[in-house]
């Protein structure tokens, strides 16, 4: 039964090899002018050293909410789209109902987001 997993193992092998080779090439032929900010671990533009209990702007929370909306959408839409021929036209309306509810949720978070951005601006 392991034969059917062979392509995945090959894929993982290619990925690892490719990454190693690319790092090696850049190490060999790239210029090296290190400075302090460059040598720091990359942490999405934030200071990587410090208290882990940092306070975030509340706007991040709204962005996360919107991410959830689209994330859920793709989880349900994708399998439905793949299987649409077999599932039939009835499911089209079911998905439309689902999408409209999600859209309402998106509008709600957008409204709330504008409010929370106003709060950060006036600060």
């Amino acid at each position: 039964m392991f034969e059917q997993y062979l392509p995945i193992i090959v894929l993982i092998g290619i990925a690892v090899t490719l990454a190693l080779v690319l790092m090696l090439i850049s190490r060999l032929i790239g210029p090296h002018r290190p400075n302090a900010p460059k040598l720091r671990p990359y942490e999405s533009g934030m200071d990587p050293v410090g208290d882990a209990k940092e306070r975030y702007s509340v706007s991040f929370y709204m962005v996360a909410m919107e991410f959830i909306v689209f994330d859920l959408e793709i989880v349900f839409i994708y399998p439905w789209a793949v299987r649409y021929q077999e599932l039939g036209f009835g499911t089209f309306w079911a998905v439309m109902v689902f999408l409209s509810i999600l859209t309402l949720g998106l509008f709600y978070t957008l409204k709330k987001e504008s409010k929370s951005f106003e709060m950060t601006k006036t600060k």
Partner: protein
């Protein structure tokens, strides 16, 4: 269109869901709180009308290719849940204005919570049970902490969330193991299996643990007192009545349809849990000075009485359990409602029973209403609570669980002490400090009077409901007998 037809049979949930979305958008676009409240009431009122119609006229059928049920116990559960939500919204509106924290977000949350409860009460598949349970629970976590700047409220929300998430893990693992043992998640199809070995019993036990957590049976009750004390009082009423009703309807349905074989084997387990729950709930409630906390422990005790019915496991016992839930909804929403009225404009410490001293003669209607609800909770005749207890215990005696019933009656007798104690303070003690109660709003008093009226009505007229409930199970047994 089959799906439209199904939706027509599932109308209460659809109405509440659409209403919840409308109310949510109103909140997003900053509509006045008063308008949001009215919209909520319109949608819930409509759903209540449809649910009442369904209760009497809906035919039993399977919806959404067998994922959900309509008619019968499903319609009954839907009715109780929507009824509870309707009165909770009335009381919550008044309560939140009283404590000067009028968050309009509470209305969409309450409505989505109601949708989850309806899904739970009408579920015919373990996956639907899970979806309903989680929709309900997530909204309840948020509702418990809706007053954000109250320390106790936030604490209770966090506690509830952590314990709830933990119990969800048990529940989901139980479903997974049952699916592994039987290959189905549909209730009747699991019911066809009588013994699936270790995996089957592991699944049954974990599923039951998940349910016991949600209905707060001892020894899974630890979160209940803290959460009920910290939550806004009317929300606590909603948790104790509608949420418990929905979970118990699902539990009865799972036991009756999916696990009839396991239910016979689990009589001992249910008996032990019933004894522990009744004794602990009642004994700890005896020493509570905080009325809200006392009612929280009393709700644990009532879960114990309900478990006596589950242990009996006959059709009559399941019907009695369902009637108990109806009666409990009337009297407990009412009792919490009056306490919420007393609490308004005061801090948490006003829930102490001593601060009720001498309040019985101010606003006499409210004190009389509280007395009716507490008499009913104690199970004193001519009240719905008495009939509910009588039916559950009678069904247990018929099933031969004499010792269990003796313990139940003794525990119930002890409970009279802490219910009557509140009335002693209301009427027979001199007030220590002068408290002026505000005039209750007309809608508030009328809804409480209605609840008290229903409590007394079902203290007398119990036959119709019982014959209706018995017919639900009779039909379902005939259907399962005819199916193979």
């Amino acid at each position: 269109m089959e799906i439209l037809n199904d939706l027509m049979n599932y109308l209460p949930a659809a109405i509440v869901a659409i209403g919840g979305l409308v109310v949510m958008m109103q909140d997003g676009y900053k509509v006045k709180s008063r308008t949001i409240y009215s919209t909520t009431m319109i949608f819930l009122g409509l759903a209540l009308v449809v649910a009442t119609h369904d209760l009497f006229f809906a035919e039993r059928s399977e919806l959404f290719s067998g994922m959900a049920l309509s008619g019968g116990t499903a319609a009954y559960g839907t009715f109780i849940v929507v009824f509870g939500a309707f009165f909770t919204v009335i009381l919550t509106h008044d309560y939140l204005i009283g404590v000067k924290h009028n968050f309009p977000q509470v209305y969409p949350l309450l409505m989505f919570c109601t949708v989850g409860m309806i899904t739970l009460a009408t579920a015919n598949d373990l996956v639907t049970v899970f979806v309903g349970l989680e929709t309900m629970s997530i909204c309840l976590y948020a509702l418990a902490g809706i007053i954000r700047d109250k320390r106790l409220g936030v604490e209770s929300a966090l506690k509830y969330f952590i314990m709830g998430a933990f119990s969800t893990g048990f529940f989901l693992y139980g479903i997974a193991l049952l699916y592994g043992a039987t290959g189905y998640t549909r209730l009747e199809e699991i019911g066809a299996f009588t013994d699936g070995g270790l995996i089957y019993w592991g699944g049954v036990s974990l599923l039951m643990v998940g349910f016991f957590f949600k209905v707060s049976a001892v020894p899974f009750h630890m979160w209940t007192p803290d959460v009920y004390t910290g939550s806004p009082t009317t929300i606590a009423a909603f948790m104790a009545t509608a949420a418990k009703t929905a979970t118990f309807v699902a539990l009865v349905l799972v036991l009756e349809r999916a696990l009839p074989f396991a239910a016979e084997q689990l009589v001992g387990t249910f008996s032990v849990i019933a004894i522990m729950t009744m004794i602990l709930g009642n004994v700890v409630a005896l020493v509570q000075d905080n009325v809200k906390r006392m009612l929280a422990y009393s709700s644990i005790a009532h879960v114990g009485y309900l478990f006596v019915g589950l242990a009996a496991g006959t059709v009559e016992a399941y019907s009695a359990v369902l009637f108990y839930l109806l009666a409990y909804t009337f009297m407990n929403v009412g009792a919490f409602g009056v306490i919420a009225y007393y609490e308004k404009n005061h801090d948490v410490h006003f829930n102490n029973v001593e601060s009720y001293s001498g309040l019985g003669y101010q606003q006499p209607i409210m004190a009389v209403l509280l007395s009716i609800f507490l008499f009913s909770l104690a199970g004193i005749p001519i009240s719905a609570g008495f009939n509910a207890k009588l039916l559950v215990f009678a069904a247990a005696v018929d099933a031969g669980l004499i010792a269990l019933v003796v313990i139940g009656v003794l525990a119930s007798a002890a409970s009279a002490y802490y219910y009557l104690r509140v009335m002693v303070y209301l009427y027979m003690r001199e007030p220590k400090e002068v408290v002026t109660l505000i005039q209750p709003k007309l809608v508030y008093s009328v809804s409480l009077v209605l609840l008290a009226g229903l409590t007394l009505y079902f203290g007398v007229m119990v036959g119709d409901v019982m014959s209706m409930l018995n017919s639900f199970f009779a039909v379902s047994e005939a259907a399962t007998a005819a199916a193979p």
